[in-house]
Protein backbone atom coordinates (compact mmCIF):
# COMPACT_ATOMS: atom_id res chain seq x y z
CA UNK A 1 0.00 0.00 0.00
CA UNK A 2 2.33 2.68 -1.26
CA UNK A 3 -0.16 5.50 -0.89
CA UNK A 4 -0.82 4.86 2.78
CA UNK A 5 2.82 4.77 3.80
CA UNK A 6 3.59 7.80 1.67
CA UNK A 7 0.76 9.67 3.36
CA UNK A 8 2.08 8.68 6.72
CA UNK A 9 5.53 10.01 5.90
CA UNK A 10 4.06 13.29 4.69
CA UNK A 11 1.99 13.64 7.82
CA UNK A 12 5.00 12.86 9.98
CA UNK A 13 7.01 15.50 8.16
CA UNK A 14 4.27 18.07 8.51
CA UNK A 15 3.96 17.30 12.19
CA UNK A 16 7.69 17.65 12.61
CA UNK A 17 7.67 21.03 10.91
CA UNK A 18 4.84 22.20 13.11
CA UNK A 19 6.61 21.09 16.25
CA UNK A 20 9.84 22.78 15.25
CA UNK A 21 7.99 25.98 14.43
CA UNK A 22 6.16 25.86 17.72
CA UNK A 23 9.32 25.34 19.72
CA UNK A 24 11.35 28.02 17.98
CA UNK A 25 8.56 30.56 17.70
CA UNK A 26 9.79 32.80 20.56
CA UNK A 27 12.98 33.41 18.63
CA UNK A 28 11.29 33.77 15.28
CA UNK A 29 8.94 36.33 16.74
CA UNK A 30 11.01 39.44 16.94
CA UNK A 31 9.20 41.72 19.28
CA UNK A 32 7.70 41.13 22.73
CA UNK A 33 4.19 41.88 21.52
CA UNK A 34 4.30 38.96 19.09
CA UNK A 35 5.63 36.79 21.87
CA UNK A 36 2.72 37.91 24.00
CA UNK A 37 0.24 37.00 21.27
CA UNK A 38 1.99 33.70 20.79
CA UNK A 39 1.76 32.89 24.48
CA UNK A 40 -1.87 33.92 24.55
CA UNK A 41 -2.54 31.68 21.56
CA UNK A 42 -0.88 28.65 23.08
CA UNK A 43 -2.72 29.21 26.36
CA UNK A 44 -6.02 29.40 24.48
CA UNK A 45 -5.18 26.26 22.54
CA UNK A 46 -4.55 24.44 25.81
CA UNK A 47 -7.79 25.79 27.29
CA UNK A 48 -9.88 24.86 24.28
CA UNK A 49 -8.38 21.37 24.11
CA UNK A 50 -9.03 20.86 27.81
CA UNK A 51 -12.62 21.97 27.51
CA UNK A 52 -13.09 19.65 24.59
CA UNK A 53 -12.24 16.59 26.67
CA UNK A 54 -15.66 17.09 28.21
CA UNK A 55 -17.60 19.05 25.60
CA UNK A 56 -16.42 17.34 22.46
CA UNK A 57 -16.51 13.73 23.59
CA UNK A 58 -19.58 13.67 25.81
CA UNK A 59 -21.58 16.48 24.26
CA UNK A 60 -22.10 18.12 27.65
CA UNK A 61 -21.41 21.76 26.92
CA UNK A 62 -20.06 23.34 30.08
CA UNK A 63 -20.18 27.10 30.24
CA UNK A 64 -18.56 26.91 33.65
CA UNK A 65 -14.94 26.20 32.93
CA UNK A 66 -14.10 29.80 33.67
CA UNK A 67 -14.73 28.86 37.28
CA UNK A 68 -11.98 26.24 37.16
CA UNK A 69 -9.68 28.70 35.46
CA UNK A 70 -10.27 31.20 38.22
CA UNK A 71 -9.97 28.61 40.96
CA UNK A 72 -6.64 27.48 39.59
CA UNK A 73 -5.45 31.04 39.24
CA UNK A 74 -6.39 32.02 42.76
CA UNK A 75 -5.07 28.83 44.30
CA UNK A 76 -1.73 29.61 42.75
CA UNK A 77 -1.91 33.28 43.65
CA UNK A 78 -2.80 32.66 47.26
CA UNK A 79 -0.28 29.89 47.90
CA UNK A 80 2.47 31.91 46.25
CA UNK A 81 1.81 35.16 48.10
CA UNK A 82 0.82 33.79 51.47
CA UNK A 83 2.80 30.61 51.77
CA UNK A 84 5.79 31.55 49.66
CA UNK A 85 5.43 28.47 47.49
CA UNK A 86 7.11 28.16 44.08
CA UNK A 87 4.73 29.46 41.41
CA UNK A 88 5.14 26.86 38.69
CA UNK A 89 4.88 24.11 41.24
CA UNK A 90 1.72 25.68 42.56
CA UNK A 91 0.30 25.93 39.06
CA UNK A 92 0.59 22.17 38.78
CA UNK A 93 -0.78 21.73 42.29
CA UNK A 94 -3.66 23.95 41.21
CA UNK A 95 -4.60 21.18 38.82
CA UNK A 96 -4.89 18.77 41.71
CA UNK A 97 -6.80 21.27 43.80
CA UNK A 98 -9.29 21.90 41.01
CA UNK A 99 -9.60 18.19 40.32
CA UNK A 100 -10.54 17.51 43.93
CA UNK A 101 -13.16 20.28 43.87
CA UNK A 102 -14.45 19.15 40.49
CA UNK A 103 -15.52 15.79 41.90
CA UNK A 104 -18.39 17.00 44.09
CA UNK A 105 -19.18 19.82 41.68
CA UNK A 106 -19.30 17.42 38.77
CA UNK A 107 -21.33 14.91 40.74
CA UNK A 108 -23.99 17.56 41.40
CA UNK A 109 -23.88 19.11 37.96
CA UNK A 110 -24.04 15.81 36.11
CA UNK A 111 -27.26 14.85 37.80
CA UNK A 112 -28.79 17.17 35.26
CA UNK A 113 -28.80 17.14 31.52
CA UNK A 114 -28.94 19.51 28.60
CA UNK A 115 -30.47 22.82 29.61
CA UNK A 116 -30.21 22.33 33.35
CA UNK A 117 -26.59 21.30 33.01
CA UNK A 118 -25.75 24.48 31.17
CA UNK A 119 -27.55 26.57 33.77
CA UNK A 120 -25.67 24.88 36.58
CA UNK A 121 -22.31 25.48 34.94
CA UNK A 122 -23.08 29.13 34.34
CA UNK A 123 -24.17 29.44 37.95
CA UNK A 124 -20.86 27.91 38.98
CA UNK A 125 -18.96 30.78 37.43
CA UNK A 126 -21.13 33.32 39.18
CA UNK A 127 -20.88 31.70 42.54
CA UNK A 128 -17.11 31.26 42.50
CA UNK A 129 -16.70 34.82 41.27
CA UNK A 130 -18.90 36.14 44.03
CA UNK A 131 -17.09 34.03 46.60
CA UNK A 132 -13.75 35.38 45.44
CA UNK A 133 -15.11 38.88 45.77
CA UNK A 134 -16.64 38.33 49.17
CA UNK A 135 -13.78 36.43 50.78
CA UNK A 136 -11.60 39.49 50.83
CA UNK A 137 -9.44 38.20 53.63
CA UNK A 138 -8.22 35.39 51.41
CA UNK A 139 -8.32 36.81 47.93
CA UNK A 140 -8.11 40.54 48.51
CA UNK A 141 -11.36 40.75 46.54
CA UNK A 142 -11.60 43.48 43.95
CA UNK A 143 -8.54 45.19 45.36
CA UNK A 144 -6.67 42.57 43.40
CA UNK A 145 -4.04 40.01 44.15
CA UNK A 146 -0.53 40.62 42.90
CA UNK A 147 1.97 37.88 42.35
CA UNK A 148 5.74 38.39 42.32
CA UNK A 149 7.28 38.65 38.90
CA UNK A 150 9.46 35.93 37.48
CA UNK A 151 13.12 36.70 38.08
CA UNK A 152 15.88 36.56 35.56
CA UNK A 153 14.06 37.68 32.45
CA UNK A 154 14.18 41.12 30.97
CA UNK A 155 11.10 42.95 29.83
CA UNK A 156 11.50 41.67 26.29
CA UNK A 157 11.95 38.05 27.26
CA UNK A 158 9.38 37.84 30.00
CA UNK A 159 6.84 35.88 27.94
CA UNK A 160 9.22 33.14 26.87
CA UNK A 161 9.11 30.86 29.91
CA UNK A 162 5.32 31.11 30.01
CA UNK A 163 5.10 30.35 26.31
CA UNK A 164 6.88 27.10 26.98
CA UNK A 165 4.91 26.37 30.13
CA UNK A 166 1.69 26.60 28.15
CA UNK A 167 3.23 24.67 25.28
CA UNK A 168 4.12 21.80 27.59
CA UNK A 169 0.60 21.87 29.03
CA UNK A 170 -0.82 21.84 25.51
CA UNK A 171 1.33 18.88 24.57
CA UNK A 172 0.12 16.96 27.62
CA UNK A 173 -3.53 17.76 26.97
CA UNK A 174 -3.12 16.80 23.34
CA UNK A 175 -1.61 13.47 24.25
CA UNK A 176 -4.40 12.80 26.73
CA UNK A 177 -7.00 13.69 24.12
CA UNK A 178 -5.30 11.48 21.57
CA UNK A 179 -5.16 8.60 24.02
CA UNK A 180 -8.84 9.01 24.88
CA UNK A 181 -9.83 9.04 21.22
CA UNK A 182 -8.28 5.63 20.71
CA UNK A 183 -9.46 4.03 23.91
CA UNK A 184 -12.52 2.18 25.12
CA UNK A 185 -13.08 5.04 27.51
CA UNK A 186 -13.32 7.46 24.62
CA UNK A 187 -15.64 5.15 22.79
CA UNK A 188 -17.86 5.11 25.83
CA UNK A 189 -17.81 8.90 26.02
CA UNK A 190 -18.81 9.22 22.41
CA UNK A 191 -21.57 6.67 22.94
CA UNK A 192 -22.82 8.83 25.81
CA UNK A 193 -22.90 11.76 23.43
CA UNK A 194 -24.82 9.85 20.80
CA UNK A 195 -27.35 8.15 23.07
CA UNK A 196 -26.69 8.15 26.79
CA UNK A 197 -29.44 5.76 27.81
CA UNK A 198 -28.47 3.27 25.14
CA UNK A 199 -24.86 3.42 26.29
CA UNK A 200 -25.98 2.64 29.81
CA UNK A 201 -28.01 -0.27 28.54
CA UNK A 202 -24.87 -1.69 26.99
CA UNK A 203 -23.07 -1.68 30.31
CA UNK A 204 -21.29 1.67 30.20
CA UNK A 205 -21.15 3.24 33.67
CA UNK A 206 -22.11 6.64 32.38
CA UNK A 207 -21.84 8.43 35.73
CA UNK A 208 -18.22 7.46 36.23
CA UNK A 209 -17.30 8.12 32.62
CA UNK A 210 -18.83 11.58 32.59
CA UNK A 211 -17.36 12.52 35.93
CA UNK A 212 -13.88 11.39 34.86
CA UNK A 213 -14.00 13.43 31.70
CA UNK A 214 -15.33 16.40 33.65
CA UNK A 215 -12.63 16.24 36.32
CA UNK A 216 -9.83 15.78 33.80
CA UNK A 217 -11.10 18.67 31.74
CA UNK A 218 -11.40 20.87 34.83
CA UNK A 219 -7.96 19.96 36.16
CA UNK A 220 -6.12 20.98 33.01
CA UNK A 221 -8.01 24.24 32.88
CA UNK A 222 -7.03 24.76 36.50
CA UNK A 223 -3.36 24.32 35.68
CA UNK A 224 -3.68 26.81 32.85
CA UNK A 225 -5.24 29.23 35.30
CA UNK A 226 -2.32 28.76 37.62
CA UNK A 227 0.26 29.48 34.96
CA UNK A 228 -1.80 32.44 33.85
CA UNK A 229 -1.75 33.84 37.38
CA UNK A 230 2.01 33.85 37.41
CA UNK A 231 2.24 35.19 33.89
CA UNK A 232 -0.20 38.04 34.30
CA UNK A 233 0.93 38.65 37.90
CA UNK A 234 -2.35 40.22 38.86
CA UNK A 235 -5.71 38.70 39.67
CA UNK A 236 -9.09 40.40 39.92
CA UNK A 237 -12.24 38.32 40.43
CA UNK A 238 -14.27 40.07 37.76
CA UNK A 239 -11.65 39.44 35.07
CA UNK A 240 -10.71 35.94 36.04
CA UNK A 241 -14.18 34.57 36.79
CA UNK A 242 -15.56 35.80 33.52
CA UNK A 243 -18.07 33.64 31.66
CA UNK A 244 -16.45 34.94 28.48
CA UNK A 245 -13.34 32.87 29.08
CA UNK A 246 -15.36 29.68 28.98
CA UNK A 247 -17.36 30.97 26.06
CA UNK A 248 -14.19 31.50 24.08
CA UNK A 249 -13.09 27.95 24.80
CA UNK A 250 -16.36 26.78 23.31
CA UNK A 251 -16.16 29.11 20.33
CA UNK A 252 -12.66 27.96 19.46
CA UNK A 253 -13.56 24.32 19.79
CA UNK A 254 -16.70 24.75 17.70
CA UNK A 255 -14.93 26.70 15.02
CA UNK A 256 -12.17 24.18 14.59
CA UNK A 257 -14.45 21.20 15.05
CA UNK A 258 -15.44 19.59 18.37
CA UNK A 259 -15.27 16.08 17.14
CA UNK A 260 -11.72 16.32 15.92
CA UNK A 261 -8.71 16.20 18.22
CA UNK A 262 -7.11 19.04 16.31
CA UNK A 263 -10.22 21.16 16.04
CA UNK A 264 -9.91 23.21 19.24
CA UNK A 265 -6.28 24.03 18.51
CA UNK A 266 -7.15 25.15 15.02
CA UNK A 267 -9.97 27.29 16.33
CA UNK A 268 -7.69 28.97 18.86
CA UNK A 269 -5.01 29.48 16.23
CA UNK A 270 -7.50 31.32 14.04
CA UNK A 271 -9.30 33.34 16.67
CA UNK A 272 -6.62 34.57 19.06
CA UNK A 273 -4.19 36.23 16.66
CA UNK A 274 -6.98 37.80 14.62
CA UNK A 275 -8.72 38.92 17.77
CA UNK A 276 -5.55 40.53 19.07
CA UNK A 277 -5.00 42.12 15.69
CA UNK A 278 -8.43 43.71 15.70
CA UNK A 279 -7.99 44.84 19.26
CA UNK A 280 -4.71 46.50 18.38
CA UNK A 281 -5.99 48.10 15.20
CA UNK A 282 -9.43 49.21 16.21
CA UNK A 283 -9.39 49.06 19.97
CA UNK A 284 -12.69 49.24 21.78
CA UNK A 285 -13.97 46.28 23.67
CA UNK A 286 -17.51 46.83 22.43
CA UNK A 287 -16.53 46.03 18.85
CA UNK A 288 -14.69 43.03 20.14
CA UNK A 289 -17.74 41.87 21.98
CA UNK A 290 -19.99 42.22 18.98
CA UNK A 291 -17.49 40.54 16.70
CA UNK A 292 -17.19 37.58 19.07
CA UNK A 293 -20.95 37.33 19.26
CA UNK A 294 -21.39 37.51 15.53
CA UNK A 295 -18.71 34.92 14.92
CA UNK A 296 -20.26 32.58 17.47
CA UNK A 297 -23.70 33.04 15.94
CA UNK A 298 -22.37 32.35 12.45
CA UNK A 299 -20.51 29.24 13.54
CA UNK A 300 -23.52 27.88 15.42
CA UNK A 301 -25.97 28.49 12.60
CA UNK A 302 -23.90 27.84 9.52
CA UNK A 303 -21.27 25.32 10.53
CA UNK A 304 -21.86 23.81 13.93
CA UNK A 305 -19.55 20.97 12.99
CA UNK A 306 -16.61 23.30 12.60
CA UNK A 307 -13.94 23.67 10.00
CA UNK A 308 -12.20 20.32 10.10
CA UNK A 309 -15.24 18.13 9.38
CA UNK A 310 -16.29 20.58 6.66
CA UNK A 311 -12.88 20.27 5.07
CA UNK A 312 -12.93 16.51 5.51
CA UNK A 313 -16.22 16.18 3.67
CA UNK A 314 -14.94 18.31 0.82
CA UNK A 315 -11.88 16.09 0.53
CA UNK A 316 -14.04 12.99 0.63
CA UNK A 317 -16.07 14.27 -2.25
CA UNK A 318 -12.97 14.53 -4.39
CA UNK A 319 -11.85 11.01 -3.58
CA UNK A 320 -13.14 7.75 -5.08
CA UNK A 321 -16.93 7.61 -5.31
CA UNK A 322 -18.62 5.87 -2.40
CA UNK A 323 -19.37 2.17 -3.00
CA UNK A 324 -23.03 1.64 -3.77
CA UNK A 325 -24.88 0.17 -0.88
CA UNK A 326 -26.06 -2.98 -2.56
CA UNK A 327 -29.00 -4.33 -0.70
CA UNK A 328 -28.61 -8.03 -0.08
CA UNK A 329 -31.13 -10.21 -1.87
CA UNK A 330 -33.50 -10.58 1.06
CA UNK A 331 -33.64 -6.88 1.73
CA UNK A 332 -36.75 -5.41 0.22
CA UNK A 333 -37.29 -3.23 3.19
CA UNK A 334 -39.57 -0.24 3.71
CA UNK A 335 -38.08 3.26 3.46
CA UNK A 336 -35.51 3.92 6.17
CA UNK A 337 -36.86 5.58 9.27
CA UNK A 338 -34.78 8.02 11.25
CA UNK A 339 -33.30 6.70 14.44
CA UNK A 340 -33.78 8.75 17.56
CA UNK A 341 -30.62 10.64 18.39
CA UNK A 342 -29.99 11.70 21.96
CA UNK A 343 -31.81 14.88 22.80
Amino acid sequence: MQNASRRRVLIGLAAGVVVILAVTYPWIATNPYYRFVGTMTVMSMALAMSWNIMGGFTGYVSLGHSAFFGLGAYFTGITVTRLDMPPFGMAVAAGLFVAVLAVPIGYLALRTRNASFVIVTIALVYITGLLAQAWRGLTRGTAGLSLPRLEGFGRDDIHIPFYFAFLILLAIVFLVTWWISRSRFGMGLIAIREDEDKAEMLGVNTDIYKLTAFVASAAFVGIAGGVYAYWYSYLDPTFVFDVGIGLNMILMSLLGGIRSIFGPMLGALIIVPSSEYFLAQYGGSQFHLMATGLLLAIVVIVMPQGIIPAVESIIKRFRAPAPSIRESASESSPPPQPTKAAS
Binding site: R184, G188, M201, G203, P334, P338
Partner: protein
Amino acid sequence: MTYFATKELSRAFGGVVAVDEATVEFQQGKVNGLIGPNGCGKTTFFNLVTGMIRPDGGEITFKDGDLAGSRPHQVALAGIGRTFQVTRLFPRMTVMQNMLVAVRRRSIRELAANAVRGDDVARAEGWLERVGIEHLRDTEARDLSYGQQKLLEIAGLLMGDPELILLDEPAGGVNPVMVERISTLVRELNAEGKTFLVVEHNMEMVMSLCDHIVVFDRGAPVAVGAPQDIRKDQRVLEAYLGG
Protein backbone atom coordinates in the same frame (compact mmCIF):
# COMPACT_ATOMS: atom_id res chain seq x y z
CA MET B 1 -33.69 -21.16 41.58
CA THR B 2 -35.92 -18.42 40.33
CA TYR B 3 -34.34 -17.42 37.08
CA PHE B 4 -36.14 -14.22 36.18
CA ALA B 5 -39.25 -13.05 37.98
CA THR B 6 -41.01 -10.05 39.42
CA LYS B 7 -43.14 -9.85 42.54
CA GLU B 8 -45.80 -7.17 42.96
CA LEU B 9 -43.89 -4.83 40.73
CA SER B 10 -45.58 -1.47 40.50
CA ARG B 11 -45.11 1.83 38.79
CA ALA B 12 -47.44 4.76 38.29
CA PHE B 13 -47.02 7.97 36.34
CA GLY B 14 -49.03 10.74 37.92
CA GLY B 15 -52.45 9.18 38.15
CA VAL B 16 -51.90 6.45 35.61
CA VAL B 17 -50.93 3.04 36.97
CA ALA B 18 -48.77 1.56 34.25
CA VAL B 19 -47.66 -1.60 36.01
CA ASP B 20 -49.95 -2.87 38.72
CA GLU B 21 -48.44 -5.26 41.26
CA ALA B 22 -47.23 -7.56 38.53
CA THR B 23 -46.13 -10.93 39.78
CA VAL B 24 -44.80 -13.10 37.00
CA GLU B 25 -42.07 -15.61 36.35
CA PHE B 26 -40.17 -16.31 33.17
CA GLN B 27 -38.48 -19.57 32.33
CA GLN B 28 -34.80 -20.09 31.81
CA GLY B 29 -33.65 -21.38 28.47
CA LYS B 30 -36.98 -20.64 26.85
CA VAL B 31 -38.24 -18.05 24.44
CA ASN B 32 -40.72 -16.27 26.66
CA GLY B 33 -43.34 -14.04 25.10
CA LEU B 34 -44.99 -10.99 26.61
CA ILE B 35 -48.10 -9.91 24.78
CA GLY B 36 -51.09 -7.72 25.46
CA PRO B 37 -53.14 -4.88 24.00
CA ASN B 38 -51.62 -1.46 23.49
CA GLY B 39 -51.07 0.43 26.69
CA CYS B 40 -51.03 -2.66 28.89
CA GLY B 41 -47.69 -1.76 30.36
CA LYS B 42 -45.30 -4.00 28.44
CA THR B 43 -42.72 -1.36 27.63
CA THR B 44 -42.94 0.10 31.12
CA PHE B 45 -42.34 -3.39 32.44
CA PHE B 46 -39.25 -3.63 30.29
CA ASN B 47 -38.04 -0.25 31.46
CA LEU B 48 -38.53 -1.30 35.06
CA VAL B 49 -36.69 -4.60 34.87
CA THR B 50 -33.79 -3.05 32.98
CA GLY B 51 -33.35 -0.25 35.48
CA MET B 52 -34.30 2.62 33.23
CA ILE B 53 -37.03 3.73 35.59
CA ARG B 54 -37.45 3.09 39.27
CA PRO B 55 -40.30 0.92 40.51
CA ASP B 56 -42.67 2.33 43.08
CA GLY B 57 -42.68 -1.03 44.76
CA GLY B 58 -42.04 -4.72 44.32
CA GLU B 59 -39.12 -7.00 43.58
CA ILE B 60 -37.24 -8.01 40.50
CA THR B 61 -35.31 -11.24 40.80
CA PHE B 62 -32.65 -12.43 38.39
CA LYS B 63 -30.79 -15.63 39.26
CA ASP B 64 -31.75 -15.15 42.89
CA GLY B 65 -30.38 -11.61 43.01
CA ASP B 66 -32.62 -8.56 43.48
CA LEU B 67 -32.41 -6.18 40.58
CA ALA B 68 -34.87 -3.56 41.77
CA GLY B 69 -33.13 -0.24 42.07
CA SER B 70 -30.21 -1.23 39.92
CA ARG B 71 -28.90 1.16 37.32
CA PRO B 72 -29.11 0.10 33.68
CA HIS B 73 -25.42 -0.55 33.34
CA GLN B 74 -25.51 -2.83 36.36
CA VAL B 75 -28.37 -4.75 34.80
CA ALA B 76 -26.38 -5.07 31.60
CA LEU B 77 -23.32 -6.31 33.46
CA ALA B 78 -25.48 -8.84 35.30
CA GLY B 79 -26.08 -10.45 31.92
CA ILE B 80 -29.24 -8.89 30.55
CA GLY B 81 -29.40 -7.23 27.14
CA ARG B 82 -32.24 -5.29 25.63
CA THR B 83 -33.46 -3.75 22.39
CA PHE B 84 -35.81 -0.79 22.12
CA GLN B 85 -39.21 -0.46 20.53
CA VAL B 86 -37.95 2.29 18.25
CA THR B 87 -34.49 1.14 17.32
CA ARG B 88 -31.81 3.00 19.19
CA LEU B 89 -28.30 3.08 17.90
CA PHE B 90 -25.41 5.51 17.92
CA PRO B 91 -26.30 7.32 14.70
CA ARG B 92 -23.02 8.97 13.86
CA MET B 93 -20.84 6.01 14.77
CA THR B 94 -20.12 3.33 12.20
CA VAL B 95 -21.57 -0.15 12.43
CA MET B 96 -18.29 -1.51 13.75
CA GLN B 97 -18.01 1.27 16.33
CA ASN B 98 -21.57 0.57 17.43
CA MET B 99 -20.57 -3.01 18.02
CA LEU B 100 -17.58 -2.07 20.16
CA VAL B 101 -19.42 -0.02 22.75
CA ALA B 102 -20.90 -2.90 24.71
CA VAL B 103 -19.06 -3.76 27.88
CA ARG B 104 -18.68 -7.30 29.07
CA ARG B 105 -18.17 -8.44 32.59
CA ARG B 106 -14.47 -7.88 32.93
CA SER B 107 -11.74 -8.07 35.45
CA ILE B 108 -10.27 -4.81 36.66
CA ARG B 109 -7.08 -5.61 34.81
CA GLU B 110 -8.92 -5.95 31.52
CA LEU B 111 -10.74 -2.67 32.08
CA ALA B 112 -7.48 -0.87 32.73
CA ALA B 113 -6.04 -2.13 29.48
CA ASN B 114 -8.60 0.06 27.78
CA ALA B 115 -7.51 -0.09 24.19
CA VAL B 116 -9.88 -1.50 21.63
CA ARG B 117 -8.75 -5.07 21.65
CA GLY B 118 -8.14 -7.11 18.55
CA ASP B 119 -10.25 -10.00 19.74
CA ASP B 120 -13.19 -7.67 20.35
CA VAL B 121 -13.00 -6.62 16.73
CA ALA B 122 -12.88 -10.28 15.71
CA ARG B 123 -15.93 -11.06 17.84
CA ALA B 124 -17.74 -8.08 16.36
CA GLU B 125 -16.94 -9.26 12.87
CA GLY B 126 -18.27 -12.66 13.80
CA TRP B 127 -21.61 -11.33 14.97
CA LEU B 128 -21.93 -8.95 12.05
CA GLU B 129 -21.35 -11.81 9.68
CA ARG B 130 -23.87 -13.94 11.46
CA VAL B 131 -26.64 -11.37 11.15
CA GLY B 132 -25.55 -10.56 7.62
CA ILE B 133 -24.40 -6.92 7.76
CA GLU B 134 -20.63 -7.41 7.82
CA HIS B 135 -20.36 -5.61 4.48
CA LEU B 136 -21.69 -2.45 6.11
CA ARG B 137 -19.13 -2.29 8.91
CA ASP B 138 -17.84 1.16 8.01
CA THR B 139 -21.20 2.70 7.24
CA GLU B 140 -22.60 5.18 9.72
CA ALA B 141 -25.49 3.67 11.60
CA ARG B 142 -27.88 6.39 10.53
CA ASP B 143 -27.36 5.42 6.90
CA LEU B 144 -28.64 1.89 7.34
CA SER B 145 -32.10 0.76 6.37
CA TYR B 146 -34.52 0.15 9.21
CA GLY B 147 -34.23 -3.60 8.95
CA GLN B 148 -30.44 -3.40 9.00
CA GLN B 149 -30.60 -1.16 12.04
CA LYS B 150 -32.69 -3.72 13.86
CA LEU B 151 -30.13 -6.39 13.09
CA LEU B 152 -27.33 -4.11 14.25
CA GLU B 153 -29.13 -3.40 17.48
CA ILE B 154 -29.36 -7.10 18.22
CA ALA B 155 -25.80 -7.82 17.16
CA GLY B 156 -24.56 -4.96 19.29
CA LEU B 157 -26.12 -6.23 22.47
CA LEU B 158 -24.79 -9.71 21.81
CA MET B 159 -21.30 -8.28 22.15
CA GLY B 160 -22.01 -7.95 25.85
CA ASP B 161 -22.48 -11.72 26.12
CA PRO B 162 -25.87 -11.52 27.78
CA GLU B 163 -27.61 -14.69 28.91
CA LEU B 164 -31.05 -13.09 29.04
CA ILE B 165 -32.17 -11.02 26.08
CA LEU B 166 -35.18 -8.72 26.10
CA LEU B 167 -36.53 -7.83 22.67
CA ASP B 168 -39.03 -4.99 22.47
CA GLU B 169 -41.15 -5.51 19.34
CA PRO B 170 -38.37 -6.94 17.16
CA ALA B 171 -40.77 -7.35 14.25
CA GLY B 172 -42.15 -3.84 14.42
CA GLY B 173 -42.04 -2.01 11.12
CA VAL B 174 -40.12 -4.58 9.09
CA ASN B 175 -41.06 -6.73 6.15
CA PRO B 176 -41.95 -10.44 6.46
CA VAL B 177 -38.59 -11.64 5.19
CA MET B 178 -36.82 -9.68 7.92
CA VAL B 179 -39.27 -11.00 10.50
CA GLU B 180 -38.35 -14.52 9.50
CA ARG B 181 -34.67 -13.67 9.64
CA ILE B 182 -35.00 -12.33 13.17
CA SER B 183 -37.09 -15.31 14.26
CA THR B 184 -34.47 -17.70 12.93
CA LEU B 185 -31.76 -15.81 14.75
CA VAL B 186 -33.71 -15.97 18.00
CA ARG B 187 -34.26 -19.71 17.60
CA GLU B 188 -30.60 -20.31 16.90
CA LEU B 189 -29.44 -18.26 19.87
CA ASN B 190 -31.98 -19.94 22.08
CA ALA B 191 -30.66 -23.31 21.00
CA GLU B 192 -27.23 -22.06 22.05
CA GLY B 193 -28.50 -21.43 25.55
CA LYS B 194 -29.77 -17.86 25.60
CA THR B 195 -33.04 -17.06 27.29
CA PHE B 196 -35.39 -14.62 25.59
CA LEU B 197 -38.24 -12.40 26.62
CA VAL B 198 -39.98 -11.02 23.58
CA VAL B 199 -42.62 -8.32 23.52
CA GLU B 200 -44.51 -8.56 20.26
CA HIS B 201 -47.74 -7.73 18.51
CA ASN B 202 -47.11 -9.98 15.54
CA MET B 203 -49.16 -12.98 16.66
CA GLU B 204 -47.82 -15.32 14.02
CA MET B 205 -44.30 -14.69 15.19
CA VAL B 206 -45.25 -15.04 18.83
CA MET B 207 -47.12 -18.27 18.40
CA SER B 208 -44.42 -19.91 16.32
CA LEU B 209 -41.44 -18.62 18.25
CA CYS B 210 -42.38 -18.62 21.91
CA ASP B 211 -42.41 -21.59 24.26
CA HIS B 212 -44.07 -19.78 27.10
CA ILE B 213 -46.34 -16.75 26.94
CA VAL B 214 -47.44 -14.21 29.50
CA VAL B 215 -50.39 -11.98 28.67
CA PHE B 216 -50.56 -8.53 30.19
CA ASP B 217 -53.60 -6.34 30.53
CA ARG B 218 -53.76 -3.04 32.37
CA GLY B 219 -50.40 -3.42 33.99
CA ALA B 220 -50.62 -6.98 35.28
CA PRO B 221 -50.46 -10.53 33.95
CA VAL B 222 -53.86 -12.06 33.23
CA ALA B 223 -52.87 -15.35 31.65
CA VAL B 224 -49.81 -17.55 31.48
CA GLY B 225 -49.10 -20.64 29.46
CA ALA B 226 -48.07 -22.34 26.26
CA PRO B 227 -49.09 -20.78 22.94
CA GLN B 228 -51.87 -23.25 22.17
CA ASP B 229 -53.50 -22.64 25.55
CA ILE B 230 -53.20 -18.90 25.34
CA ARG B 231 -54.79 -18.91 21.93
CA LYS B 232 -57.94 -20.35 23.37
CA ASP B 233 -57.96 -18.51 26.70
CA GLN B 234 -61.09 -16.47 27.25
CA ARG B 235 -59.38 -13.87 29.36
CA VAL B 236 -56.89 -13.17 26.61
CA LEU B 237 -59.64 -12.62 24.10
CA GLU B 238 -61.36 -10.27 26.48
CA ALA B 239 -58.17 -8.37 27.09
CA TYR B 240 -57.62 -7.78 23.40
CA LEU B 241 -61.19 -7.25 22.33
CA GLY B 242 -62.99 -6.04 25.39
CA GLY B 243 -62.01 -3.71 28.13
